[in-house]
């Protein structure tokens, strides 16, 4: 068993990066991810890792440098939040399109305007179509475990795709909690040696990355990207199985909680799932059959498996910590896409909660479960999308 420590989410993920010792890291500071990279930079200056840190003038440059370093042949990591991820947006598509297995912890934070430094999922949801794998983490332990697994997943030769590991800004990134670390040697052994199969610096075998492809082949290139995404879930499950052998901690494409015999359920990402589980226990004690589903892998989205897990329910509330203005919340849209294949469809409602770090409190989960109980009894939905926890 590894060392048990009381650390923040940022500290835990920085520790994972230390254990993995990437070749190159290009980063630019942004709250709340700053503290993660600051800790990792200390490991570099203390000689604990031999990563080459590239200090750049913006996140756009950070991702550009990561792309160059990854194509050249290195194992590459960076981290960001919010506006930083937004500024990287153009380069995210290039990392994915060039099939470069860069790993990036994203410490979820709201987007401006108005300026806000606190946690919500607007940043990573804005990057959901970029072709990156996205893993979400409820706790510091999950963020650490996901970071270790992300390298194996991203670098797997069946896929070779960049991966984001998301955790809630401040709520997890800056809260101290109990985390069990894995031994350094075990992490090193688990992620293994990285070898770029088409290194740009192999001058004897010249390659091109990101050439111009017009109407003749672009469409086929994108179909290839679509197809590789369909292979990701098997890789994620295979890596999770190995990870469980090493640590005893079990991961899947999503987590279910008291869902098997449930009639109503909440679908929710990241830290708010924990608070919801405690509320579900209270409702179970009252005899109400409530459950929860927490997606871990949001990209690619495991539609079929999630449909299978939700098919017996009468009513589902999908709670989004991000909005798509003029549309439904991003998680809600995916869950609707999943339940589409179910014959006897559950009623599905969408709640937007916790934007800009607004606290998600047990009474919000209670109100949602009460509403779901009503819908399960009457079959009647009053409103599909609504903000909760709003000060009136």
């Amino acid at each position: 068993m590894g060392k048990i420590v009381a650390v923040t989410g940022n500290e835990a993920v920085a520790e994972a990066l230390r254990q993995i010792n990437p070749d190159v890291c290009a980063a630019y500071p942004i709250t709340p991810a700053t503290d993660l990279m600051q800790r990792f930079a200390s490991f570099i200056s203390d000689g604990k890792v031999d990563t080459e840190m590239v200090l750049v003038e913006s996140e756009h440059s950070a991702m550009s440098a990561c792309i160059g370093a990854s194509a050249a042949g290195g194992r590459v990591a960076t981290a960001t939040s919010s506006q930083g991820l937004a500024l990287m947006w153009e380069m995210l598509f290039i990392a994915a399109g060039d099939r470069l297995p860069i790993v990036m912890p994203v410490v979820n934070r709201a987007l401006s305007a108005p300026l806000n430094i606190h946690g919500d999922h607007s940043d990573s949801m804005g990057a959901r179509d970029s072709g990156w794998i996205q893993l979400y983490s409820e706790t510091a332990q999950e963020a650490y475990d996901n970071a270790v697994q992300a390298f194996r997943i991203a670098e797997h030769l069946d896929i070779r795709l960049p991966a984001m590991v998301c955790m809630d800004g401040f709520i997890v990134s800056h809260s101290i909690e109990r985390v069990e670390y894995i031994e350094d040697a075990d992490v090193k052994n688990f992620v293994g040696e990285y070898k770029q199969v088409n290194p740009l610096l192999d001058l004897d075998n010249p390659k091109s990355y990101g050439p111009l492809i017009l109407t003749d082949r672009y469409h086929e290139y994108k179909r290839a990207q679509h197809e590789v995404m369909t292979k990701v879930k098997n890789v994620v499950l295979e890596v999770a199985a190995d990870f469980e052998k090493m640590t005893g901690r079990k991961y899947g494409l999503f987590e279910t909680y008291r869902l098997d015999d449930a009639e109503i359920a909440i679908v929710i990402l990241n830290s708010a799932a924990g608070t919801t589980k405690d509320t579900i226990d209270e409702y179970r004690d009252k005899g109400i059959k409530a459950g929860l589903l927490k997606p871990r892998m949001f990209r690619p989205f495991p539609y079929e498996e999630i449909a299978e897990a939700l098919k017996h329910l009468k009513a589902i509330a999908v709670l989004d910590r991000a909005d798509s203005f003029g549309g439904y919340g991003p998680l809600f849209s995916e869950i609707c896409g999943a339940v589409m294949s179910i014959d006897k469809k559950p009623a599905v409602i969408n709640k937007i909660y916790g934007l800009g770090g607004r606290d998600y409190l047990p009474d919000q989960a209670e109100k949602v479960l009460d509403e779901l109980t009503g819908i399960a009894n009457t079959g009647k939905v009053n409103i599909i999308k609504e903000y909760i926890g709003v000060r009136e």
Binding site: H118, F170, S175, E177, G274, T275, P362
Partner: protein, 191 residues
Amino acid sequence: MAKTIEIRWHGRGGQGTVTAAKVLADACLSGGRYVQAFPEYGPERAGAPLRAYNRISDHVIRMYCPVLHPHVISIADATLLDGVNVTDGAQDDTIFLVNTSKDPKEIREKLNAKPGQKVFTVDASKIARDCIGRPLPNASMLGAISKATGIIDMDTLLANVKKSFGKKFARKIIDGNLDATKRGYEEVKEG
């Protein structure tokens, strides 16, 4: 299921209140307990009122929201008794600990504490001035918490104070904080 102990700290920026919550979490981790420590993040200014929280449990802690109904309320600056609603969400048996030179009976009256609620006082700022030369009450507050609540034994607490302060400070400051922790334990009064 064993109870999770929830603590709310009230302090002012620069007094070491957040550090105190962190040291307590670290100390309670030993013995296999699950812990959380987190401040309420706002504009971080010296002197501004702040809250920090702890959860300590024998079981996995899943709650990720501020403590709403604390079992322990620790007030590191008595001037906050007038400006902040420190009793907000208190339970019928909540334990209050206040850094003040005043008598615990007087504070009990000021808080309008219920019969089941316990009120403790410790002159943590004076102890800190004596031991480390600056009125930073966190170490003595931790000693007082140990005595008032029993959630952590002194040996473990002292070892963790030493470890936490040892990362940043010179020997003299560490020893001063260890003395302050001990005196906080010895000098806390119930009323």
